[in-house]
Amino acid sequence: MSYEMWAEKYRPKSLKDIINQKEIVDRLQSFVKAKNVPHCIFAGPPGTGKTTAALCLARDLYGKGYREHLMELNASDERGIKMVRETVKTFARTRSIGEIPFKILILDEADNMTSDAQQALRRTMERFTETCRFIMIANYSGKIIEPLQSRCAPFRFSYMSKEDQDRYLKHIIEEENIKILDEGYDAIFEVSEGDLRKATNTLQAAASMGKEIDTETVYSVIGRANPEDINKMIKTAMKGDFLEARKQLREMILKYGVAGSDIIKQIHTEIFRSMLPDSWKVTLSEAIGEIDFRLIQGADVEVQLSALLARLTEAGQELSRGG
């Protein structure tokens, strides 16, 4: 066994190695052939190959020294207008030496940028088109402001099929000489839901345990890697134990770094799945929407979500009265 993160070691190096997203790969290869790349948006769920495609594109385009022509930024670690103004401009304005006159800037988690930062990016993109092409990576293209979207070629990445994922994992398993049962593949697919990074990390953590990988191993990895449980918190609140639910919320936010937006998304889904009367669902949805908006504005995640938990406690009481 070798000692890197396998998700990196087995990340495809060239567009031709990417086993899924056929249409996307075809179009990107045509860019390489033409030696011209437009500004792009790569949108899609996590672990579907967005970053990989961007890195492969750069490598295929520039060859070995591709690193010199490439810059990776992520909007969540270096957020805000300042980041765009300084880092991006410095990189974007200098001309690349070589056959291809532009550099590539990969902006990961672009949907995490404030709209102000996105507005600032709009002008930068236009001014430096000659010398720099942007690839913006996002889970939701909808969170990218319209003027930016209209300047970019959109690419939609979708989840990998089980066959494709199994094929990819099998390659790793052979290279690393791991023992795995067939049920291990099924379990990994089930827990990773088509997220290849998650699948590969799960495989590596399971392999580190040194036993033949079966369903149980996979589930023990997932159980330990995801100790936070949003559904459990929702249930606790609806059962009437607000204090315990708030405690779970705190741990999620502070200990496990769960994003407020993930929690709110889950609550929203669960409400509509619940047995609550329709009128309550709509009322709650209104509250959820308001709090979602407040979180975007930067309000305190715990305080805001606690207010929502109180609503769930009240709804739970209503439900137990009705039923």
Binding site: M5, T51, N74, Q204, Y256, G257, A307, A310, R311
Partner: protein
């Protein structure tokens, strides 16, 4: 849950009372001397600052010598009439079956010299003729009111226990409550209480109840002078007055950092507003207050603070409609602050680790805390060999390795392989 720790952990024996070794002994000796007949001084006056064990010394001594204790509090000896009523008790010899009786007049400071002149005189008579031991406690024995009384009493001074003695008392309580407390945290509590043991125990309860760990960060907020009482008063008004104006006034007049106060209210409200309907309203108001806090931060327009105060005081106060008051519920230290300070180091480490991962794995530090670090932890706990390779590849330092490995032994194994 609703008992105070000062009651729950009240010392039962003289040994459990910290400090004042000589005073305790002196009192015990005087009490024992009653076995050999009426001593020269028929009363003892224990004096000293509040909360350091005068009353418990009397209680524990009575228990140790199996003497019946008759306790009177200030209202019983305020006036000459009241004193006459119990004077009879003192004039009798012991109890029917030969055991002695000890009469305790607690908190003599409650006797007002001006109104109760007759009372003091009457009391002096009782002390002169008592056939059972009488004990008085007071904060200031040299108050002119007590001048005559003093002459008939064995005066025993109680002093503040040292910080170390107070800490040892707090430790005993922590052990019983199953709390693993850092020495320096207890020391700070003791210092802040200015060696008033009772007040220190109350603080300990507010800070540590329901916890199994107490560290210095949990206690640091005490450093501000007298903030605790002010905060508690404000909270009582907000949670129980039901009066929007009173609540608002309490907050505005208290000289406390509004942010700190917000956290106290946010922490404690759910314990006191137990009806879900009330809770929804109160939490909504707190969420609204939070929005205005954010607006102030963004705009630095501090006049908006008045709305923060409105929502967190009046808003919460008027939310109480259906909740019933149910006994004494202690105020709790804001868990949010406690957790923030406790997880601060961890979060900084996660971030540093995240930056290392970002360099190698094309994933932001933020996302790596959820999507990479948990898997690394499993690997580091299970497979030192793979962990060694990864430490090298990611260029991790010792602290990061220990964080991922979770224990010293595994960390050592990995570090050994790295060299």
């Amino acid at each position: 849950m609703s008992t105070t720790w000062t009651q729950k952990h009240r010392p039962q024996t003289l040994n459990e009372i910290v400090g004042n070794t000589e005073a305790k002994q002196q009192f015990l000796n005087w009490l024992k001397s009653w076995n050999k007949g009426i001593p020269k001084k028929r009363a003892a006056l224990l004096h000293g600052p509040p909360g350091i064990g005068k009353t418990v010394t009397v209680e524990a001594s009575a228990k140790e010598l199996s003497i019946e204790l008759v306790e009177k509090n200030a209202s019983d000896y305020r006036t000459a009439d009241a004193i006459k009523r119990f004077a009879g008790l003192a004039s009798q010899y012991g109890t029917l079956f030969g055991g002695n009786r000890l009469i305790l007049l607690d908190e003599m400071d409650g006797v007002s010299g001006k109104d109760d002149r007759g009372g003091v005189r009457e009391l002096t008579n009782v002390l002169k003729t008592a056939r059972s031991p009488v004990v008085l406690t007071a904060n200031d024995a040299y108050d002119p009111r007590f001048r005559t009384i003093r002459n008939y009493c064995l005066v025993i001074a109680f002093k503040n226990p040292t910080v170390r003695e107070t800490v040892s008392h707090l430790k005993r309580i922590c052990a019983k409550e199953g709390i693993d407390a850092d020495e320096e945290a207890l020391k700070l509590i003791a210092e802040r209480a200015e060696r008033d043991v009772r007040s220190a125990v109350n603080d300990l309860q507010a800070l540590a109840q329901g916890k199994n760990r107490l560290v210095i960060e949990d206690v640091k907020w005490l450093a501000g002078r007298d903030r605790k009482e002010v905060i508690f008063d404000v909270m009582r008004t907000i949670l129980y007055s039901g009066d929007s104006w009173e609540a608002k006034k309490a907050v505005s007049s208290a000289d406390v950092d509004p942010d700190m106060l917000f956290n106290w209210i946010y922490e404690n409200t759910p314990y006191h507003l137990t009806d879900p309907h009330d809770l929804v309203k109160a939490m909504d108001y707190l969420a609204l207050a939070d929005i205005y806090r954010k607006r102030i931060m963004d705009t630095q327009y501090w006049t908006l603070l008045r709305y923060v105060i409105d929502f967190m005081s009046s808003g919460v106060a008027v939310s109480r409609q259906r909740s019933k008051a149910s006994g004494w519920i202690p105020f709790r230290f804001p868990e949010k602050i406690r957790m923030l300070s406790r997880t601060k180091g961890e979060r900084a480490l996660q971030k540093a680790l995240g930056m290392k991962i970002w360099k190698r794995c094309h994933i932001s530090a933020r996302r790596s805390t959820k999507e990479v670090i948990p898997y690394l932890k499993i690997i580091f706990e299970n497979n030192p060999e793979m962990a060694t390779g990864l430490s090298d590849w990611l260029d991790l330092d010792e602290e990061m390795i220990e964080y991922l490995a979770g224990n010293k032994k595994q960390t050592k194994a990995i570090l050994a392989k790295l060299e």
